[in-house]
């Protein structure tokens, strides 16, 4: 992917967003009036507790003892050798409790909900990972939990639906629109606006109205902070490039953000290319969309010429979303990060490659990042270092993969 690169030194990257949640022209607060007060309440709480020693100590303890952090940074030596170029390191978010990076954020937001005295938690989910992570923390804290999930995703991710129900959550099937993640988000917003006095909405990605993109990012930067220290410890140097998949973009921003000031570290966000960008059937707003306003923020969107949001396609339910976090929109425009897309087929190929060479079954979402590493590593010398965010494990996807390959399990 070619892109004009401006000097990142002149760009305010790490001090963002501004007080009203803007990353350059992106982000902001675009919601119905009734949500302005609870968003302000949330912003105040977040700013207070982000500096509160007791809160941070409780969060650290939960991350260590409940989530299992730090997650390892693993040198995938055999796979690197097979690729014949750069050394690939995997940030093992798949080893977290609940099997993905999502729990880093739900643990944090649930602690905030508790501080705010809200006893009812709602969430939207696509692949079900965020729903499971939310249901998990709700169970642990004894909070009522309702998860909105598109009917189409419920069909694709039956195992996660059952997991959420086991954990005591009510899973509401969303039948409107395209019946996927975007519609689940609409429905969660409708619930929130109705039950705003008692309910805390745990958004699972770095999208939505301010302060969600900044708050979720800050909870997820544990990924990049750990990875940075771990690579320095293991190799004595910083990576040459970071690679992460981008749906809403929370695992990617969590990895990227702590490296933004490290000018020598390249960053690649990998979108769901579906059947290919030319097919129109994909989930790659940064590669092939344009800016607009949806779900509370201004960002790149998949939309038609009238501004209606169009249906996306990705083999991975977690990437099947027509928008993307506003900070990624800003990182794209500023040139600090590059955004590429890989197809379903390329992601499936990487899924198998990692499974067979390293004994690690990756999530289909993370397989997109691995697919780009497969392309990039061979172009680089053997002394170059790549960190790929292995954002989740693939157990939830084995039925999808088997079905695509005509195998009945």
């Amino acid at each position: 992917m070619t892109q004009t690169r401006r000097s990142s030194e002149s760009l305010p990257l790490t001090g963002l967003p501004d007080a009203r949640g803007h990353f350059g022209p992106y982000g902001g607060i675009f919601v119905a009036e009734t949500l302005m007060e609870p968003l302000e309440e949330l912003r105040r709480a977040w700013e207070k507790y982000a500096r509160d020693a007791d809160f941070l100590a409780e969060l650290d303890q939960d991350l260590a003892q409940f989530v299992g952090r730090p997650s390892p940074l693993y040198h995938a030596e055999r796979w690197s050798q097979q690729l014949g170029g750069a050394q690939v390191y995997l940030k093992r978010e798949d080893l977290n409790h609940t099997g993905a990076h999502k729990v880093n954020n739900t643990v944090g937001q649930a602690l905030l909900a508790k501080r705010l005295g809200k006893n009812r938690i709602i969430a939207e989910t696509g692949a079900g990972q965020h729903g499971v992570a939310t249901a998990t923390v709700a169970a642990r804290l004894g909070l009522e939990c309702v998860v909105y999930m598109g009917a189409e995703d419920i069909r694709r991710q039956a195992i996660n639906v059952y997991r959420m129900r086991l954990l005591g959550a009510e899973v509401v099937s969303v039948e409107s629109g395209s019946r996927t993640l975007k519609d689940a988000l609409n429905e969660a917003m409708r619930d929130w606006v109705t039950n705003v006095d008692t309910t805390f909405y745990i958004i699972g990605t770095v999208a939505g109205p301010h302060p969600y993109p900044a708050m979720v990012r800050n909870f997820q930067t544990i990924i990049g902070r750990e990875a940075r220290a771990q690579l320095l410890e293991q190799t004595g140097r910083l990576p040459d490039a970071l690679i992460a998949c981008v749906g809403g973009g929370s695992n990617a921003i969590g990895l990227f953000h702590p490296f933004l000031d490290d000018a020598g570290v390249a960053m690649y966000g990998v979108e769901g290319g579906g059947y290919g960008l030319d097919s129109g059937k994909h989930a790659a707003p940064l590669c092939a969309g344009r800016p607009g306003v949806l779900h509370g923020n201004r960002t790149y969107l998949m939309e038609d010429r009238d501004g209606q949001i169009i249906e996306t396609h990705s083999v991975s339910a977690g990437l099947d979303y027509p928008g993307v976090g506003p900070e990624h929109a800003w990182l794209k425009d500023s040139g600090r990060a590059a955004y590429v897309a890989v197809t379903d087929e390329q992601a499936l190929d990487a899924f198998h490659a990692l499974t067979r060479s390293e004994g690690i079954i990756p999530a289909l979402e993370s397989s997109h990042a691995l697919a780009y590493a497969q392309q990039l590593a061979p172009q680089l010398d053997a002394d170059k270092l790549l960190i790929v965010n292995l954002s989740g494990r693939g157990d939830k996807d084995i039925h999808t993969v088997a079905a695509l390959e005509g195998i009945k399990v």
Binding site: G28, F30, A32, E33, T34, T194, R305, G307
Partner: protein, 268 residues
């Protein structure tokens, strides 16, 4: 004076409250909309609210979501909605028309181009559900530059400072959302609305309309007693939905619910 301000002034002189029906443009099909608008005026509407269909109507309940889906099945675009207003204006140059919808279709057209086209088509006001005053400066400037009234939503949890800001930026009337929730929900509490309106009037000189949850003649009359305008959406759109497979009958039959409300409001 804008057409909306003029309409509220003449209503005040006659001691009458405004009745503002909402329909989604192109629901259940595009040919129905203009005749339906005329029929609503016949039935007693003072201002018309025309919804611009959007794929992701986050603030709306299931009734208006379904209306958007019916309209979008016919690919009704913002351009077509403006054409409908232009067509309506050929026979009605008096009744104010407010466009109601979400920001993204306007973003895509461009604020300045939209404002110009809306003014040329005969639109009087624009209400953008997902655009709070904090983010509205640029669109407000474009609208005012074309003599269009930006109409803001106030909610039960909007404080005095926010009401003042909406009044400074807005025009036409202030739209008070009667409860925390989505359109069409059954949560109307007339006394709570009356209390909040008393507060709001201390911070704004704009007429105040009330919407969300007004489902029949009785609730319309109760709200008319405390507000300057009664906005009716889901109750009307439900009638339209019931006639969706007989679109030829919509303009003749659906406005009855508005006529009933008008009669009850004028009796009170």
């Amino acid at each position: 004076m804008s057409r909306i301000a003029g309409r509220f002034e003449s209503l005040r002189e006659r001691g009458r409250k405004a009745l503002i029906p909402y329909i989604t443009a192109g629901d259940p099909e595009p040919s129905v909309t203009v005749p339906l608008l005329h029929a609503l005026v016949e039935a007693g509407a003072d201002v018309l609210e025309l919804g611009v269909p959007f794929s992701d109507p986050m603030a709306d309940g299931p009734v208006i979501q379904a209306a958007c889906e019916r309209a979008l099945a016919h690919h009704v675009s913002l351009h077509q909605v403006l054409d409908m207003v232009r067509s309506f204006r050929r026979q009605d140059s008096d009744t104010p028309v407010v466009l109601m919808g979400y920001l993204n279709p306007i973003e895509v057209m461009g604020y300045a181009a939209f404002a110009k086209a809306a003014h040329a088509a005969g639109v009087d006001g624009v209400l953008t559900v997902d655009l709070p005053p904090e983010e509205a400066a640029e669109l407000v400037a474009c609208l005012k530059g074309e003599q269009l009234d930006p109409i803001f939503l106030a909610a039960p949890n909007s404080d005095a400072e926010r009401i003042r800001r909406m009044t400074e930026n807005g025009g036409g009337f202030l739209y008070y959302v009667s409860f925390k929730g989505v359109t069409g929900a059954n949560r109307l509490d007339v006394q709570a609305v009356a209390d909040k309106l008393a507060q709001i009037r201390g911070h704004t000189g704009l007429p105040v309309g009330v919407g969300f949850g007004i489902r029949d003649a009785e609730s319309a009359a109760q709200i008319a007693a405390v507000a300057d305008a009664v906005v009716v959406g889901s109750a009307l759109v439900k009638r339209i939905a019931a006639l969706a497979d007989q679109p030829g009958k919509v303009a003749a039959l659906a406005p009855q619910v508005i006529a009933d409300m008008r009669a009850a409001m004028d009796r009170a």
